[in-house]
Amino acid sequence: MTTNDRKAKARAAGQAAASGGANVIVVAGIVVVLAMALIIGGVVWASQDTGSSAGGASQLPDGVTKGQPIEPFASAKPAEDAPVVDVYEDFRCPICQVFEQSMGSTINELAKDGTIRLRVHLKTVIDSNTGGDSSAVAGASAVCAADQGVWEKYHTALFALQPAQETSAGFPSSDYTKAAKGAGLSGERLAAWQKCTDQGTYVDYVKSVDDETVKQGITGTPVIEVAGTKLSWGALIDQNTRRADTATLTEVLTSGSVPADLVQKP
């Protein structure tokens, strides 16, 4: 290194050396600014992508707090000591469709006559696999249907329309309307449901439910718990016919306790 070089260095750190070459400080400055902009911009975008899309329209279902399940058949007024059945599901999850189509009606009947207290946790498992928020939007649209009193029919109709492929796009929005009409909504009630769905009224709520259940360790779907114990529901499905042993299912749900051989292993 020549004396000139040393002087140049001493004069101003980072000033280009006499031998030529770019100024390290300037290049470092540019790189740091660009890197910070990219990372901060990325995080902001990520939080918007996964966060609120409803803005001021965002609401919690009537009488439900953030992260907590809905009770779609609360009007059946189950007894205080009725067995609590928790169902964790995602409209886009294929096994949830099997669960719904084999056991859904048995569970609903028991909930409708107040024999059990059914709590539904709407999760977004497939969203976290594919990106996008179709599971959250689908779940939110079902809460809108519950507001119009057609939870059960809408739930069945939307599961039947489940896309075969898991993509970030998920359900086409026309499927929600199809399910709503299939559930018997028309006129003013259909319009109210449509507005609720289009505004994403309950999207943030559904996302909060997924957060809360993940915190509790429920990361997959479907899960069914009877009085807090996971039921190995697959053991009640005939592998060939895909039909459920509804007699045993009814017995387990109404008794409020899962027999040892039907407890889901972790």
Partner: protein, 160 residues
């Protein structure tokens, strides 16, 4: 070929391997922030909300550091970050293994709970240790063939 030039070539390979893997890992996760957040949360080492933000940021950090390594700009600093990331991943995976969690590392997307016979902790740790070694080489000896450091700042400064 002189020993110095050979080592420069080793440096190039280390840069491309560590940088390339970081870029691929970042790009595969960047479009799915919820999945990235859930993958970090599955390690269960940080508060839930902090893990969410780490999940949002990590793919972008990986892309930035990976690109800098691939082009060989500020190689030593980038290699420090890359090696620290890999060391952190090794610790994270090892604690999950030791505590008996059954999760996918979520290194290249995916992540979260898996069946207990589907965990691949040993392989994931071995891979990340190898990548950490690439980083360590570059921290010790950042000079390498075909680097922007050399092109911009000259050979005498590229070890800065």
């Amino acid at each position: 070929m002189s020993a110095g030039r050979l080592r420069d070539h080793v440096g190039l390979v280390a840069r491309l391997v560590l940088g390339g893997v970081l870029v691929v890992a970042g790009v595969l996760k960047v479009g799915n922030p919820l999945g990235a957040a859930r993958a970090v949360q599955a390690y269960d080492v940080m508060p839930f909300e902090l893990a969410r933000w780490i999940g949002y940021a990590l793919p972008w950090v990986e892309i930035v550091v990976g690109v800098l390594l691939v082009i060989g700009l500020f190689t030593r600093v980038s290699a420090v970050v890359g090696a620290v990331l890999m060391a952190a991943f090794v610790v994270g995976i090892a604690q999950a293994w030791a505590r008996g969690l059954s999760i996918d590392c979520g290194c290249f997307g995916g992540g979260g709970q898996v069946a207990s016979d589907q965990t691949e902790y040993g392989r994931e740790i071995a891979r990340d240790l190898g990548l950490a070694l690439c980083g360590a080489w570059l921290v010790v000896r950042p000079a390498s063939t075909l680097s922007l450091d050399r092109a911009l700042f000259g050979a005498h400064k590229e070890s800065a």
